[in-house]
């Protein structure tokens, strides 16, 4: 049964997967409560621009993904606060815009190959030791920031204006949250894929919300769901030769449907 751990690449994949599950679900709680779910999709597509630049120019694609995702997150916040544009429209524009840029870069650089494919849909075979270290370093910083400001972020998610009138630095913390989310998404696309990471960030929290419990318990349930789907998804993907990202997303979807049904009013 445990032959799955005989392979070095599977050990790395499990480690990376679990780290990502923790990061995606904890940040996802704030993202979902702020009605910001779509930002994960947009940032994942922006991260692809970084991957494209990395693949074509020969830099580390993961690092480039982090940089471009952060830039995109700041652009979103800037557009949201400085122009009268609908937030969801900004997200839609940047999503398709990023994808177009990524495709053009990759096409001009002649890098349309399996390597790009693995960033779109995720690949457990692709996780290197260097990737694990990158995820560990950036992930620790991201998680540290989220935990340090969790009370403020929760207050802002509950009521942004009331938080502001109580003296919470709303603008700064909104920037901080999108930055952290951008980092986490860029780190995750290696394992889950940029087209599927949004699911891992949003669905565990939405499932946890069905249990109608307080904030801490909701975050905890969401974390357990994310870990459960990553572990079961990876195991299934190993034994049935399925793509890892898609299998993980299907697992989290099953959890969502079950949560929905057993908590039906």
């Amino acid at each position: 049964m445990l032959e799955i751990f005989d392979y070095d690449f599977m050990q790395r994949a499990f480690l990376a997967g679990m780290l990502i599950a923790i990061l995606a679900s904890v940040s996802g709680t704030f993202v979902v409560l702020k009605r910001y779910s779509m930002i994960s999709e947009t940032l994942a597509h922006s991260a692809l621009v970084g991957v494209a630049v990395g693949l074509v120019a020969g830099f580390n694609p993961l690092w480039m993904a982090v940089v471009v995702a952060i830039a995109s997150a700041w652009l979103i916040e800037y557009l949201r606060s400085s122009f009268s544009l609908y937030s969801d429209a900004i997200l839609a524009i940047l999503l398709s815009g990023s994808l177009a840029i990524a495709v053009i870069i990759v096409s001009l650089g002649g890098a349309f190959n399996n390597s790009l494919f693995s960033y779109l849909f995720g690949s457990i075979l692709a996780v290197s030791e260097e990737d694990i270290i990158t995820i560990l370093v950036f992930g620790t910083i991201a998680l540290g920031l989220l935990l340090a400001f969790s009370k403020e972020l929760y207050f802002i998610a509950y009521d942004e204006e009331v938080a502001q009138t109580s003296g919470v630095k709303v603008k700064f913390l909104n920037f901080l949250l999108v930055t952290v989310v951008a980092i986490i998404i860029a780190l995750s696309i290696r394992v889950v894929g940029s087209l599927l990471i949004g699911a891992l960030m949003v669905i565990p929290t939405v499932s946890a919300l069905q249990y109608r419990v307080g904030f801490l318990n909701t975050t905890f349930i969401s974390l357990v769901f994310a870990l459960l789907s990553v572990l079961s998804g990876m195991t299934l993907s190993f034994y049935f030769s399925l793509p890892s990202g898609a299998t993980i997303v299907l697992c989290v979807l099953v959890i969502f449907v079950v949560s929905l049904v057993i908590n039906k009013k």
Binding site: L33, A148, F149, K151, E152, Y154, F155, Y158, D159, E161, V162, A163, Q164, T165, S166, G167, V168, A208, L209, R212, V213, G214, F215, N217, T218
Partner: protein, 254 residues
């Protein structure tokens, strides 16, 4: 009282949106310990005025001082408790227990990485005790009645130990009995706890005995220092339009 620094010192305040005047040349002062009610027709600019006092909107003209400081230099926002209009319409799915919400009142006072200390715990307990919601502590806010939610929102504002409480019609969707209790609570906070209260309301008849001054806002501000007299004052009737008569009848019914 005369020489004291007012909590809010508003001078010649105007606000326009896309050329449309919402408020023009408002000047008023609110002093420590006062209970002030703000009334006026919908769209008359009451909420806009409050939003400017809280720094959520920037005035087109004029100046606001809070505790003697210009609003952009004012930092001690925990001294001001704000309960917005939408207070009793909590999103039923938001994962928050009553305690989660009241704890938010302490957020702005803590430093990063600091855990909840005894002072925080005491302030939160105290606020829940005053609002009589201690037994609801672990209940999800989404399951509470309108009146209970209203008390939770005020407890959140009280947890920061504010010197002034600003309430913007927080009683929509609340039944009559809860409203009466709520007004009694406000009067008590003002008298016993010495908390200054600024209350935007339509129910002026019911609280006329509690309030010290009445501001009528309809683009301009009319300040009546004797609210009971104000209820029959023609000037106000003119400003407030048909609502003034409704308020008047209201007073006789109760």
């Amino acid at each position: 009282m005369k020489f004291k620094v007012p909590i809010f010192d508003v001078k010649n305040l105007s606000f326009s949106v896309r050329g449309q005047k919402i408020l023009s040349h408002i000047s008023l002062e609110i002093f420590n310990g006062e209970y002030v009610a703000i009334i006026g027709p919908n769209g008359g600019g009451k909420t806009t005025l409050i939003r400017m006092l809280l720094g959520l909107e920037t005035p087109t003209n004029g100046e606001i001082k809070i505790f003697g400081k210009k609003i952009k230099d004012f930092k001690q926002w925990q001294k001001i408790g704000y309960v917005p209009q939408r207070a009793s319409h909590v999103d039923a799915n938001f994962p928050a227990t009553v305690l989660d919400i009241v704890n938010m009142g302490r957020v702005s006072q803590r430093s990063i990485f600091a855990r909840t200390n005894n002072e925080d715990k005491e302030a939160v307990h105290d606020a829940m005790l005053k609002m009589d919601i201690l037994d609801l502590k672990d209940k999800m806010v989404g399951t509470l009645s309108g009146g209970q939610r209203q008390r939770v929102m005020i407890a959140r504002a009280l947890a920061s130990k504010p010197e002034i409480l600003i309430l913007d019609e927080p009683n929509t969707g609340v039944d009559m009995l809860s409203q009466k209790n709520f007004y009694a609570l406000l009067a008590n906070l003002n008298k016993e706890e010495k908390i200054t209260i600024v209350f935007i309301t339509h129910d002026i008849g019911v609280i006329a005995d509690d309030i010290g001054r009445l501001f009528t806002i309809n683009q301009k501000a009319v300040i009546c220092n004797n609210p009971k007299e104000a209820l029959s004052c023609e000037e106000m009737s003119e400003l407030y339009g048909i609502d003034a008569h409704l308020v008047h009848n209201h007073k006789h019914v109760h």
